[in-house]
């Protein structure tokens, strides 16, 4: 393989070198250089040049492709899309396609065990700030070494779940049999390695399924194998570099992401798959991969107590930095309030909401908390932007029936918006108590009201 695999974002001069330099003008630009400049600015199409060579076409097409290929696994509403990332750090724009988590089932398990594991995968889901956090995929691993058993289990599980599937076997005949049974569900095939690459690529091509390329000795070897699989006609590729330690995991994932998005090297521009296994080491792999560029993480087992922090980390990291997480505007009952319990309000910016709820819970005093829709802005920002007005608060209290839930005839307002006191009092008929500027002062205020 030549160094033509290493392609920077082409400049006008680099494009110019690939053009025929006839200055024929048939592209509607006077010279090839003028045309190259338009191409570099994406204001012209290469097809407009009738004399451009195939090699130049291929080179330029490769540099126009997304830095990390988008790979789809599964079908329907549960289908997974991974890859197509453009950033190294989430604050630069955002991370687009959240890490998908998979639970792997051994085909040596009994039918009861298999059923239980599918149910476990389905039960590992939590509703959180309006989002469903869940196990995204189910994998079948060919531990039995038997092709018929592998295919039978794959088919059986595919009928038990709507989740996208992964088939794990290094035996091309077993993979071929299993993949052909469930090809309509577009499973991810794991995968091709140094010794089976040709046959596995043929299976992937025939079944039109995405293929994991596995190679753990070095990224150089991995890139070679990827090129081989690609030459065999497989486009939807996922990488598994078989990380041995967390250091290996974070470093190689970073190298792959960086050389791809910076277009220093194009041969590894694919999503990353991590086989995490089970136990504490597996969770650590999942956590690191979620922060640092992993697209699919497979577990042999995971419990709710560790799955929840992992899922929440993913939710946090993949939040669009420009769009804060919002909680549903509503009246929330905290610490089992009754009609003698005080009424408070705050905004629907998740950070504000969680802080306020945390402090109320700490006080152990029952409270009704009205959350106002401020489009995810914090108290001060919303107030300054006119998105937290006494009219809006009055309207929200009316809509939620808050005045019938807390019958104290009072409302505690954030100290930052003390200025709305009299207007709010006038609109609601409630006595306004100005609360602390920081929610950490709430327990003290609430205790004083008891």
């Amino acid at each position: 393989m030549s160094c033509s695999e290493v392609i920077e974002v082409p400049t006008a001069m680099e494009i110019f070198k690939l053009l025929p330099k006839k200055n024929c003008g048939e592209c509607k630009f006077p010279t090839c250089l003028a045309f190259a400049m338009q191409l570099a600015n994406q204001k012209a199409k290469l097809e407009d040049c009738p004399y451009v060579s195939d090699q130049a076409k291929a080179t330029l097409a490769a540099s126009a492709a997304p830095p990390i290929r988008l790979v789809k696994i599964g079908t329907g509403s549960n289908a997974i899309e991974v890859g197509d990332e453009t950033e190294l750090y989430r604050h630069e724009k955002k991370f687009f396609h959240p890490t998908a988590y998979a639970l792997i089932i051994s085909d040596s398990s009994s039918d009861d065990e298999i059923k239980a594991k599918v149910e476990k995968a389905h039960s590992l889901r939590f509703e959180r700030v309006g989002q469903l956090l869940k196990m995204d995929m189910i994998g079948i691993k060919n531990d039995s070494g038997n092709a018929e058993r592998f295919a039978a289990v794959a088919e059986k599980v595919s009928k038990m779940t709507d989740l996208p599937m992964i088939l794990v076997s290094d035996k091309p005949d077993a993979m071929k049999l299993a993949a052909s049974k469930i090809a309509a569900k577009v499973p991810l095939l794991h995968g091709a390695n140094l010794s089976n690459a040709e046959a596995m690529a043929a299976v992937a091509k025939e079944t039109k399924c995405p293929l994991v390329v596995y190679e753990d000795t070095s990224l150089n070897q991995l890139a070679d194998l990827v090129a081989k699989v690609k030459t065999a006609g497989v486009e939807d590729i996922v990488l598994d570099f078989g990380a041995k330690t967390l250091k290996d995991l974070i470093e190689k994932s970073t190298i792959i992401r960086k050389i791809s998005v910076k277009k220093i090297f194009r041969g590894l521009g694919y999503p990353i798959f991590v086989y995490a296994g089970e136990g504490e080491r597996a969770i650590l792999r999942g956590l690191i991969s979620t922060m640092k560029y992993g697209s699919i993480v497979a577990f042999d087992d995971i419990d709710p107590a560790t799955a929840l922090p992992l899922y929440v980390l993913r939710q946090n990291i993949y939040t669009d930095p420009q769009v804060p997480i919002q909680v549903k505007p509503d009246l929330y009952a905290i610490n089992n309030p009754n009609e003698k319990s005080p009424l408070l309000f705050t905004t629907n910016f998740s950070l504000t909401y969680f802080t306020v709820v945390g402090d109320i819970e700490k006080s152990k005093i029952p409270v009704w908390l009205q959350v106002i829709d401020t489009e995810g802005l914090s108290v001060m920002t919303a107030f300054a932007a006119g998105k937290l007005t006494p009219e809006m608060v009055a309207k929200a209290l009316e809509a939620s029936g808050a005045k019938n839930k807390s019958k104290r005839g009072e409302i505690i307002i954030p100290g930052m918006v003390a200025r709305m006191s009299s207007k709010l009092q006038e609109l609601t008929g409630l006595k306004v108590i100005v609360g602390p500027k920081e929610s950490s002062g709430l327990p003290k205020l609430l205790k004083s009201l008891e």
């Binding site: 750090y89 890139a223 974070i250 080491r281 929440v312 998740s350 950070l351």
Partner: protein, 318 residues
């Protein structure tokens, strides 16, 4: 074979180092000092720059159990009743690098212990354990000014790390740190500009940069972690790109994770609460480390154990 390039950044900046604790040769009594910072690249990328100093872990000890969750006590039993026993448990059983002593009992609206009583606690802990100390007041500005002065004097030769200075209140604690050459935590509220601002204020006031550790406020998993993660990353990137006023080590207090309801609520559907709480804090801590923390202040020994395993591997162990 294809040669995959290693994308090594050519950073012009470097994170400074801060020493906490003084051994006999510096006139102190610590068994070992803790050195943090010194990175020349983004976290845990050995190809960008060697990690000279392993991130340090401080075990949290509070001198009142007023707001301390029952769930967290399990690991220590009765030791939490006494800061000395609690500190010893951290060091002897759980192998932390430092103790972080929070003198919350000095709060004038609660127990209102005197600065002298608080300083006496510091003295006892110093005598009981050989590790360096981080010491916080109660967060009440006027009281902390007096408490930290007394603390500074009683640990005069020990090179404590004092917490914390913030934009609205930094002079008295900066003075307390300068009086006896203690290190100082510069706190800012989730904002890279404020993080820089407090460092400028402190250095203008006369605090040496090598005595500053930045606390950009670590938010808990599920409660704004993503803000902290990105602020930390931006601070580290700016420092490496040459912004000298951000080139100080970073401390993250992950005990905040215990404020997240999901971490500590009894709910069978969410799995074992002890395991969940520990992982909630460990996850918060891991996010802090990956985004640039040089030092963690932690509550759960189980979370400390998890983070130590992660650090071992991240720094090249098997």
């Amino acid at each position: 074979m294809v040669e995959v390039p290693i994308p090594k950044e050519k950073w012009t900046g470097k994170i400074g180092t801060t020493i906490i604790g003084a051994t006999a040769e510096d006139g102190g009594t610590r068994g070992k000092k803790v050195v943090i910072g010194g990175e020349t690249g983004m976290p845990f990328l050995s190809f960008e720059g060697s990690i000279v100093n392993r991130p340090a872990i401080a075990g949290e000890v509070i001198d009142t159990l007023r707001d301390y969750p029952l769930l967290a006590r399990k690991a220590f039993g009765d030791a939490v009743e006494d800061p000395v026993q609690w500190s010893k448990a951290w060091v002897e059983k759980y192998g932390v690098d430092l103790i972080c002593l929070k003198l919350q009992s000095t709060n004038p609206e609660e127990e209102n212990k005197s600065p002298q009583e608080a300083a006496e606690t510091v003295r006892k802990v110093l005598a009981a354990v050989p590790v360096p100390l981080v010491v916080y007041g109660c967060g009440h500005e006027e009281k902390d000014a007096k408490t930290m002065e007394a603390v500074s004097n009683i640990g005069a030769k020990e090179r404590l790390l004092l917490g914390h200075a913030e934009e609205s209140a930094y002079k008295s604690i900066a003075a307390a740190s300068m009086a006896n050459n203690h290190a100082l935590i510069a706190f800012s509220n989730l904002d890279i500009n404020l993080a820089k601002q407090i460092n400028i204020l402190l250095t203008d006031f006369g605090v040496k940069k090598e005595n500053i550790v930045a606390d950009p406020l670590m938010a808990s998993l599920g409660m704004g972690l993503e803000y902290s993660y990105s602020v930390n990353e931006r601070i580290r990137l700016a420092a490496l790109m040459g912004d000298s006023m951000l080139q100080v080590p970073m401390v993250c207090d992950t005990t905040i994770a215990w404020k997240a309801r999901e971490a500590t609520e009894e709910n069978d559907k969410l799995g074992d609460v002890d395991v969940r709480a520990a992982w909630w804090e460990a996850t918060t801590a891991l996010a802090a480390l990956v985004s640039g923390a040089d030092m963690l202040i932690m509550r759960s020994p189980k979370a400390v154990e998890i983070v130590k395993k992660a650090l071992h591997e991240l720094l090249g162990g098997d």
